[in-house]
Amino acid sequence: MEPVVRLADVVAVLGGFPVLAGASLQVGKGEIVLLRGPNGAGKTSLLRLCAGLLPVERGEAVVLGCDLVADLTAVRSRVGLLGHSNGLYADLSVADNVGFWGATVGATPAEIQGAMESMGLDTRLAPVLVGRLSAGQRRRTALACLVARRAQLWLLDEPHAGLDAAGRDELDATLRGAAAAGATVMVASHELERAGSLATRVVEVIGGQVFPVDPGGGR
């Protein structure tokens, strides 16, 4: 079956610096892949590349059947990226934000409500302006927007950061649910224990390249 993500020797450049220096990776449908590695290794760039935000300088990259070398934009509507920023509007309420993002894909109010509930954003939080939320609550709102958008490929950059234990449990449950429903998930995280139990596969990103991780612990 056609892999959801297929990268072959991808080089990507940001401001003259090669953030990815020959990365190769294949991810199948329904997998939850953990990307681990030191800071600056290229995890964020790898995720952004798969979202169609970083141009491919060299190599081949096909995500969800879309050739990223030919056209970056086609893949974007099917992908959900949660990066370091949340992509939220501070002056709007939680419900407004999730509603807006859901509306961009034509989600029904019921689906939007469901998305908010799946991230524990109950009726108490719904009318609160995002600017007044804590970092963790903002993170959950961003994730709810992702759920509302029904993405086929979830790209999460340090999603557990800023969440308390309950929030993290909810996140894991949401991710497992998404994978079970047919989405594919790629998570970059330093939370090795938690993400490790969540993931079906672990890879190491270092020096702008991707290496499989030997279950025995070495590389």
């Binding site: 003259g16 090669p18 220096a21 020959g22 290794a41 270092i206 702008g208 390249q209 290496f211 590389r219």
Partner: protein, 249 residues
């Protein structure tokens, strides 16, 4: 002499060729010719006497400025069309813009001086002068956008779009200024009677400046190509260093 290739971009830059040398020589001869005719051989104007000689710089500069602008627009369009997409067009657009800004500056200054000699004012709000001033500022904005950074493709696409928007803008500005201040009598260069040797000198000027323009753009475009290919080579080195990070210590 064979064209030289640069790095993985494989650009052929045939500027150190016999053609460009001949071109440079022709431009030099043309300028000398212009100086001869403009400063010595052509007669004084009945009214303005020596002052009219500024025209021999002003008119060719203006012609050049607009030519450069059109070339930038065409090269930008050529870049945006998928069939003709090539970074060479982007570099030509950039080189032409740089040369164009220079000559626009010369046009404005020489025009201002001529205005002072003819009518005692350094500036008039006629449509040609104002549109040229507007174009000057627009060009500076275009060059600023070129300097925004990012990959060569991003730079090329962004500046190509800005150049084409500017192209759309020019007729609007021209007409709005023209309706705003209709030309007054006697203030138009075209209405000036130029005949015989004076007209000929003007044509010499236009030809000489055009040769100069082509030569400048050719060489400037080459420098830009070399800068780009240097950046690419820099990438290879940077890539190698980056990959070093992955090796077991």
């Amino acid at each position: 002499m064979t064209p030289t290739e640069f790095g993985p971009t494989g650009i052929k830059c045939p500027t150190r060729t016999r053609f460009s040398r001949a071109l440079g020589l022709a431009a030099l001869v043309g300028i000398a010719w212009l100086a001869l005719f403009g400063l010595v051989l052509s007669p004084d104007d009945r009214v303005q006497r020596e002052g009219v000689r500024i025209l021999y710089v002003h008119v060719p500069s203006a012609w050049l400025a607009y030519l450069a602008f059109v070339v930038t627009g065409l090269a930008s369009a050529a870049y945006l069309f998928p069939k003709t997409r090539s970074l060479t067009w982007d570099r030509i657009a950039g080189a032409s813009a740089e040369v164009g800004v220079l000559f626009m500056g010369i046009t404005l200054v020489s025009g201002s001086l001529w205005g002072h000699i003819s009518w005692g004012t350094y500036w008039t709000w006629d449509s040609r002068l104002t549109t040229t001033a507007f174009l000057f500022v627009t060009y500076i904005g275009y060059l600023a956008v070129r300097g925004l950074g990012g990959s060569q493709q991003q730079r090329a696409r962004r500046s190509a779009v800005v150049a084409l928007l500017a192209l759309l803008e020019v007729p609007l500005v021209h007409f709005s200024v023209k309706w705003w201040r209709p030309l007054h009598q006697g203030e138009s260069v075209a209405e000036k009677e130029l005949e015989g040797l004076m007209l000929f000198s003007l044509f010499v000027g236009i030809i000489a400046f055009t040769l100069l323009y082509v030569w400048l753009v050719l060489h400037r475009q080459r420098v830009l190509a070399m800068e780009d290919s240097l950046a690419d080579r820099g990438l290879d080195t940077a890539l190698a260093e980056r990959r070093q990070e992955a090796l077991p210590r």
